[in-house]
């Protein structure tokens, strides 16, 4: 116990962040699995019902159980953020590794593309994507993923540039190791801590970006819901039914807060 308290004092962010994130995840999973309500089922009689034992957080404008919808929306948001970051990291690492390791022409060409995507307003990119490929959760993920690639690529690239001239890499090269092997067996593991902490930040950025897309009307499609979509729906009722917006806003804030504390804590530990 004392040992725990000591560790807690040394790095409270890690523990508080982990606790918030874990509780949020548990509630979301439990809610999705065991919810007594169909999150899509509408009931005119319980339109904007107040919180009660029957409806823990009350109901929305269609009389849908808010708690069930928040857990479902939370799950969608987690899914979007997770896969967005995954795409960003995977493609970003590949691009960053090749450009950072080889440099030269490959680097020039890919980095120009990278800069162009970075300078391209993400909203237009998302809009184009949604217009061409249609809308839906997976399209939101892919379009956000593309937006996230360049920043990861830059981070990984600078790590690779730093590492490629270090002694252990040189000796591996002298021993005849292939480039691919050097890149992914020798250098890559060393970039993981840096990539991981930017992944956590990226995760939060994805949650907030998805909310922004929903606000501009290009997020996930109803009746599917995400927290961002719900918040932008809820603000239409801000003055008459503030509960809807408040509960949704608090859910997003807690989720982001939990992860950003966790990220800070991880960084401190690293």
């Amino acid at each position: 116990m004392e040992k725990f308290l000591f560790r807690f004092r040394k790095n409270p962010e890690l523990y508080i962040g982990a606790a918030i994130s874990a509780v949020m995840m548990l509630i979301i999973i439990a809610g999705v699995l065991f919810s007594p309500y169909d999150p899509d089922s509408m009931d005119a009689a319980s339109k904007f019902a107040s919180p009660s034992l029957k409806h823990l957080l009350g109901c929305d404008n269609f009389g849908r159980d808010l708690f069930s919808r928040l857990t479902l929306g939370g799950a969608t948001t987690l899914l979007i953020a997770f896969f967005t970051v995954l795409i960003g990291i995977t493609v970003g690492t590949l691009v960053g590794a090749f450009t950072g390791y080889y440099g030269g022409a490959v680097d020039e060409v890919l980095m120009r593309f990278n800069d162009a995507v970075l300078a391209f307003p993400s909203i237009l990119l998302a809009l184009v994507f949604i217009s061409v490929f249609g809308s839906g959760t997976w399209k939101v993920i892919i379009s956000l993923g593309i937006v996230f690639v360049p920043s990861f690529a830059r981070i990984v690239r600078s790590e690779f540039m730093r590492c490629k001239n270090l002694d252990y890499v040189r000796s591996a090269r002298l021993m005849g190791a292939k480039d691919i092997r050097i890149m992914f067996v020798h250098i890559f593991p060393n970039t993981v801590p840096v990539v991981l902490s930017s992944a956590v930040i990226g995760f939060n950025n994805a949650v907030l970006a998805e909310a922004g897309m929903s606000f501009l009307g290009i997020g996930v499609q109803p009746p599917a819901s995400s927290l961002g979509r719900m918040l932008s729906d809820a603000q239409a009722f801000l003055f008459s039914e503030p509960g809807y917006a408040v509960f949704t806003g608090v859910t997003i804030a807690l989720m982001v807060l939990g992860f950003s504390l966790l990220g800070d804590g991880l960084k401190k530990n690293a």
Partner: protein, 313 residues
């Protein structure tokens, strides 16, 4: 000299790529300026006639290069929706976007440097901890919702400004600037919170370094050490962040302009996209892209100037 040429070449190539992306995007999106202009009264003949009139029937590369050629000579074309020259339209909106961007940037600096320094100095006091939490919360709320909360609190409860009461700079510059204060605040708060956090972490880790301890042991007062040594080094990562932020603000103002009903570049961009008014979209994006790249270049240079370790390279 060689680096300068290389940077210039990279700059031009990136801008070219961005404009090409926009053109390709507009090829892919369903609908064009003619469908937008004709709406539900489009008959096939009228549609074809209008496409011809707008020059949309020309092949892709002809359109792209003729646009590029005129843009190079400062001619941004004519807006399909408004029938006026894109250049004059963008010029008349420039003060709005510029004021919004600069105002929020100044706010970020004014808020983050003193607060960052103070809260690292008094890191164990309750006030600093409370600021930390407040900062974390500001960063955890989607920007558009923060904008709505600010409108609600300062506009509806405290009545410090009239929501939607935007006044153009040529009508009344004072009221124009006054209206932009709260939208700028909405853009600045999350960024300021981020930069406070960054500055604080950076100062704290800098203070642990040997040279600082040496300075203290020599009997320098703590304020002296703070300014002569710590801040000078601790501010480097913050400058990188601020550079990125300046570029970010331009994109972030898109949403805030929508929330506060401000007719700046962001609003113009969104409506022009949905009207397929690509001369306008093309010009705005090219300008934003150039700004972003130039800001990045400036940050690079600043970085080299400020960080002695990099000067050798």
């Amino acid at each position: 000299m060689k680096t300068a040429v290389r940077k210039a070449a990279a700059f031009i190539i990136t801008v070219l790529l961005v404009t090409l992306f926009v053109f390709i995007a507009f090829e892919l999106i369903p609908g064009d300026a003619a469908t937008a202009k004709l709406g539900t009264s489009a008959t096939p003949e009228a549609y074809e006639a209008l496409r011809e009139e707008l020059g949309l029937t020309r092949p892709f590369f002809v359109r792209y290069f003729s646009w590029l050629f005129s843009f190079f000579f400062g001619d941004m074309g004519t807006s399909y929706s408004y029938g006026v020259s894109v250049r004059s339209m963008l010029a008349s909106k420039l003060p709005i976007t510029l004021t919004l961007t600069l105002m929020s940037f100044v706010m970020i600096i004014i808020l983050s440097i003193p607060i960052g320094v103070l809260s690292s100095k008094y890191e164990d006091r309750a006030g600093a901890k409370a600021l930390d939490v407040l900062g974390q919360l500001t960063m955890s709320v989607p920007p558009f919702f923060l904008g709505i909360l600010i409108t609600y609190f300062f506009g509806m409860v405290l009545r410090l400004f009239t929501p939607g009461g935007f006044v153009s700079y040529d009508v009344n510059p004072v009221r124009f600037a006054a209206y932009l204060f709260f939208p700028s605040l909405a853009i600045a708060l999350p960024k300021a919170a981020m930069s406070i956090k960054l500055l604080k972490t950076s100062i704290l880790s800098e203070r642990k370094l040997d040279y600082v301890r040496t300075a203290y042991s020599r009997g320098n007062s703590s304020m002296d050490v703070m300014y002569k040594h710590v801040l000078k080094n601790a501010i480097i990562p913050v400058i990188t962040f601020l550079g990125m932020t300046l570029a970010d603000i331009v994109a972030g103002s898109l949403v805030i302009e929508q929330v506060f009903s401000i007719p700046g570049y962001g609003r113009l961009l969104i409506t022009s996209i949905s009207n397929r008014d690509y001369p306008v979209v093309q010009a705005i994006i090219a300008i934003i892209a150039m700004l972003v790249i130039i800001i990045n270049l400036i940050v690079d240079v600043l970085y080299q100037v400020m960080d002695p370790r990099l000067r050798g390279n």
